[in-house]
Amino acid sequence: MAVDPIVLTQSIINGILNGLLYSLAALGLALIFGVMDIINFAHGDFIMIAAYLTFIFAVSLNMDAALTAVLTMPIFFVLGLGIYKGIIEKILGAEPLIQIATTVGLLLVLRNLALAIFHAEPKGVPVTPLGIPIYLGPIAVPLSRLIGGIVSLGALFAIHQLLTRTKWGIAVRAIADDREIASLMGINIKKVYAITFGLGIALTALPAALIMEFSRADPYLGLLYGLLSWIIVAMGGLGGVEGILYSGLILGLIESLGCSLINPSARELYLYITFLVLLWIRPRGLFAKR
């Protein structure tokens, strides 16, 4: 079977751009799970709610979808702080089953709130000037996807810098390494946790805004991005931002090559079967440091 090199290049580019976005989508989850050991099953549904919020702002304020992140991220930070204070703080250190149960509850609430308010109708933002494709010879890249990829990469880099270069980031990593010792060194764990959770939730608003550039908000986004993010975290292990970046890229490439070379209608199948096999063969992830 001969593979058209143009199709191949096109799908590799698509895979990389999607993969960057997937990494960004998983970043908040990785931060919360890696630092706080909190199992957040509702991660995907925060992305879904953020997508709806993006739609509301984009339409009512007549803004470009990607720009609304400036508004949705602070809102989600506050939302994250609220949920931390109201729910998460009470299940810190609880057994995994209780954490999963609680966040599954959160997932059901978020998803069905969206269903109750928006009646399962997919909502898309009006066409933006970013929808036009850029042509590089025979290869077309939609500007919105290119921007999505670049912004994702920038955000990943920014978080990496935040974690490695600032005092707060060092505190976060110290807690991830050993909570008790970090506490003895005078780190205010409660405060770092609250901010980390807020930041983790705020970080779901950015990929949601980028996704809305080319896709539509619907209540089912939650399951897809939720599982996707967990797959990336599983693959990346707890190896920091780099692991997340590589895992997202690998997943994006598997998905786009699978779709273009095998069968386009089995998209989820490639992702989930990769996940299944990965959990079996490398339960600690491909890029784990510990």
Binding site: I87, K90, A101, G105, V109, R111, A120, I231, E268, Y272
Partner: protein, 340 residues
């Protein structure tokens, strides 16, 4: 030995009480077709929760794949009936065996490689989606050209002069299905009680409390988790086979990831490892869900699932023992148990 006899006596009393109380439901509903159908679906869900109690409650594995084994039972039963004219009784048996085989094939590597906690939950959630896609493939590319539709309407494939009992085909008479499901529920509860007081049950409890310690004591953790998974799959496979004969329409969407989550939520709300709690939680929550859906569903879609979300958050934060705590309290007052 008197203690053991007393336990068995209490168990038989409990099972009989369950059968009698639930057996009175159809007459109480005036044999209204619609209400009896709803009650039968509630029983079907409760069977799933009771089966989940084995893997989730006893073994402590948060399995979200209940629809996988359930619909495998439905799928095999339907497939054999439609393409090979096999009566559902045999189809259900083969379906249950298929569900057990799948549980073994998936469970072996999963437990072998130590996939647990959140990863087990995610893996099983992904499994439902994988099965849904595979079913979609089979139904669009294999069923559609032959049957002319992506869904299978079972009543079309029942012979004209079929014996209704042989084909489990009782159109518009859900009362019979109700009693079939009631028998299945009583059987599932009995299996639960049997397991709880057996070697398997004690091993599973040890695994749930501390897997490493259980392993250190010489328990073959993998083997017993796999046993729990296979029993769970078998019950779900049988229930799924009966369920599809009642509902009559097989669609790939039957592999519903939300159903898996709801079953686990019900199991947790009932209290892990408490079969009484699981049954009560299944019956009560499913009834509340139906009431919410029929009263407000048209105005606020999704409200019935919203309520699950709120209930599970409250239970997990305030009362992780679930309904079992209340049941134990009542039992203590009645003098049925001393500790609990």
């Amino acid at each position: 030995m008197a203690g053991k006899a007393k336990i068995i006596g209490t168990q038989i009393f409990g099972l009989a009480l369950l059968a009698i109380i639930l057996g009175l439901v159809p007459p109480a509903l005036g044999f209204n077709i619609y209400y009896v159908l709803l009650a039968t679906i509630a029983l079907s869900v409760t069977i799933m929760v009771a089966a989940w109690n084995i893997i989730g409650g006893y073994a402590g594995q948060l399995d979200l794949a209940a629809p996988v084994y359930f619909v495998i039972g439905s799928f095999v039963t339907t497939h054999l009936l439609v393409f090979y004219h096999v009566i559902p009784w045999i189809g259900i048996l083969v379906g249950a065996l298929a569900a057990v085989a799948l549980a073994m094939v998936l469970g072996y590597p999963t437990f072998r490689f130590g996939v647990k906690e959140v990863w087990y939950a995610l893996l099983t959630a992904a499994l439902v989606v994988i099965m849904q896609r595979i079913a979609w493939f089979i139904m669009t590319s294999y069923y559609f050209p032959i049957l002319g539709s992506n869904e299978v309407y079972i009543s079309q494939y029942i012979p004209e002069d079929a014996n209704p009992w042989l084909y489990l085909y009782f159109p518009m008479n859900y009362t019979i299905y109700y009693y079939i499901f009631l028998a299945l529920l009583v059987f599932t509860v009995w299996i639960n009680l049997k397991i709880k007081r057996s070697k398997l049950g004690y091993y599973l409890a040890a695994i749930r409390e501390d897997e490493l310690a259980a392993e250190a004591l010489g328990i073959d953790v993998r083997r017993y988790k796999l046993y729990a998974l296979m029993i769970y799959a078998a019950i779900l496979g049988v229930a799924g086979g009966f369920h599809i004969m009642m509902i009559g329409i097989l669609a790939y969407k039957n592999f519903d990831p939300w159903l898996g989550i709801v079953i686990a939520v019900m199991g947790i709300v009932g209290g892990l490892g408490s079969i009484e709690g699981a049954v009560m939680s299944g019956l009560i929550l499913r009834t509340i869900e139906e009431w919410l859906r029929s009263s407000f569903g048209a105005v606020i879609p999704g409200i019935h699932y919203l309520i699950y979300g709120i209930i599970i958050i409250i239970v997990a934060i305030l009362k992780p023992e679930g309904l079992a705590a209340i049941i134990n309290y009542v039992k203590k007052k009645l003098g049925l148990i001393q500790y609990g």
